[in-house]
């Protein structure tokens, strides 16, 4: 018989490592996917993955089962993503304390994408992929995690709001700003799309 998440948590808290593994293996692929689509680098994604589950392991006894385990886990995962500093140091060092970013966030969205490139040069998918990665990396941390969770992972806005511990309206704002900034930064590449 399959145990519920809460039953596995009780077992894990008694020191049953197999129960802990079963619990995390239900969700760890999603966590790794969020991390990989957030940092675009498999080594850094593994760092985030490891940090998330070490925090889960350390704090599982404090989890009071008032919410779903998955909500709690993804909240930890998004927090780790938001505080993650890239090994390559190409990410911008932004404060994570910004609760709500305004229109002025455009100033934080740096023009990392060369907008004067000849579209003819961009025929290779690899180059397109790296330009898109650069554009996504140039977003502020909250715009980036929101866009990743929505666009690549397919979470509902309500679920993202739970993960980020904010209102749905705030998530929508991050999403609009992220998309607007991406379109702006990639405008020369995707001119045909406008």
């Amino acid at each position: 018989m399959t145990l519920s998440d809460n039953e596995l948590i009780i077992e894990a808290n008694k020191g049953n490592n197999a129960a802990f593994e079963e619990l995390i293996y239900r969700y760890d692929k999603s966590v790794l996917s969020i991390a990989l689509n957030y940092v675009h680098d498999s080594d850094e994604a593994k760092d985030i993955y490891q940090e998330v589950f070490i925090r889960v392991h350390r704090n599982l006894k404090k989890f009071e089962m008032r919410s779903e385990f998955s909500t709690w886990l993804y909240r930890i995962a998004t927090n780790v993503c938001l505080t993650h500093k890239s090994r390559s140091k190409k990410h911008l060092q932004l404060s994570i304390n910004e609760e709500f970013e305004t229109e002025d966030d455009d100033s934080k969205s740096y023009e990392l994408v060369a907008t004067n490139r000849d579209p003819g040069e961009l025929a290779s998918n690899t180059e397109l992929g790296s330009l898109i990665s650069e554009a996504i990396d140039s977003l502020s941390s909250k715009q980036k995690i929101t866009f990743t969770l929505k666009h690549y992972e397919g979470y509902k806005i309500r679920e993202i709001a739970e993960m980020l511990n904010c209102k749905e309206g705030t998530v929508k704002k991050y999403l609009f700003d992220a998309t607007r900034n991406l379109r702006k930064n990639l405008s020369s590449v995707y001119a045909a799309a406008y």
Binding site: N17, S33, I54, Q93, S95, T179, L182, A193, Y194
Partner: protein
């Protein structure tokens, strides 16, 4: 509703985030607004192009590698928590409660004298691992700590404060039994993460001593990860050889098959095919998928020996 509001609704519509009412409103607006129709088309194209070119999918090898590294890290975590006070009290559960505190106190005193003797005795080369100091204050005053990779979170000192991260590395020296959980944790971690290939190799050899041949799944998984993903062929080959010493199972077979199918080094493929040959000779059966791979290898592999041995395996299996 303002025109700009509809533009925001367009993105939500493309992500199926509108309720029926909002969807109807947007559709009504789109029938009469050329600009919003174009905006919807542009947004749809933009999001499609981003999706097509950028979605990163998790493959099994990456997930396996992440899980193996996590197991190593959790073992280190558990090793640390073994020494917390609560666990020390639990050890004395067999003692009646009125005397428990006294017994714990006396034992702590004895352990304290013993630790003091170890730390003060004249052997300056060897230092024993102590629990890590979570406070950063003392780190700044320790002479043997190397501080590196400083990254500023807040370098603006206008408010009188700055905030940064850094790595503080302190040399440690540890000597202990290969069966010691602390030793095993460090060796597993080194096997998977150490930059120096020689250290990875030494870790593998140390972990798989002769008396550990029936070792745990964590060791097996670590060896499989190294055999599949390590950058250094010499380390990979050593991991493959040591896998042969572990009890054969499906995971180990899949590791050999993976190396045989994907590795560019013929030496590694030869090690894998030799291992598979031995298992077939000892009576292990191959499935249809394995046989198909061997048929391909018997025709297409660049290496004569591999082509020959796969043919032999196919004949023996028949």
């Amino acid at each position: 509703m303002q025109h700009n509001e509809y533009k925001k609704m367009i993105q939500l519509a493309l992500y199926s985030e509108l309720n029926a009412n909002e969807q109807k409103k947007l559709e009504d607006h789109l029938t009469s607004c050329e600009e919003c129709r174009k905006e919807m088309e542009a947004q749809r194209n933009f999001l499609n192009i981003i999706s097509d070119s950028e979605k990163k999918v998790i493959d099994d090898a990456l997930l396996h590698e992440a899980r193996t590294q996590l197991r190593g890290a959790l073992r280190m975590e558990q090793g640390k928590s073994m020494f917390n006070l609560k666990n020390i009290f639990n050890v004395f559960d067999f003692v009646n409660p009125p005397y428990k505190l006294a017994v714990v106190g006396v034992t702590t005193l004895i352990v304290g004298f013993f630790m003091g003797y170890l730390l003060m005795s004249p052997s300056p080369e060897i230092r024993y691992i102590t629990s890590s100091d979570s406070g950063t204050e003392s780190v700044f005053y320790q002479q043997d700590v190397k501080i590196s990779n400083i990254t500023f979170i807040d370098s603006d000192a206008s408010d009188g404060e700055v905030e940064f991260r850094f790595e503080a590395v302190k040399p440690m020296h540890y000597k202990g039994s290969v069966d010691d959980p602390n030793v095993q944790s460090v060796l597993t971690y080194a096997m998977l993460n150490e930059r120096n290939p020689g250290s990875r190799l030494n870790s593998i050899n140390a972990m798989v001593s002769e008396n550990k041949m029936d070792s745990d799944p964590e060791l097996k998984n670590a060896l499989i990860t190294v055999a599949i993903t390590d950058q250094n062929p010499g380390v990979k080959i050593e991991a493959l050889k040591l896998l042969k010493k572990l009890p054969y199972d499906e995971d180990i077979k899949q590791a050999y098959i993976y190396v045989l199918s994907n590795d560019t080094s013929s030496a590694l493929r030869i090690t894998a095919i030799n291992a598979l040959f031995e298992t077939v000779q000892s009576g292990q059966k191959l499935n249809e998928k394995d046989l198909k791979l061997f048929k391909e290898k018997s025709k297409d592999d660049d290496n004569n020996y591999i082509r020959h041995l796969t043919k032999t395996i196919l004949q023996e299996h028949d």
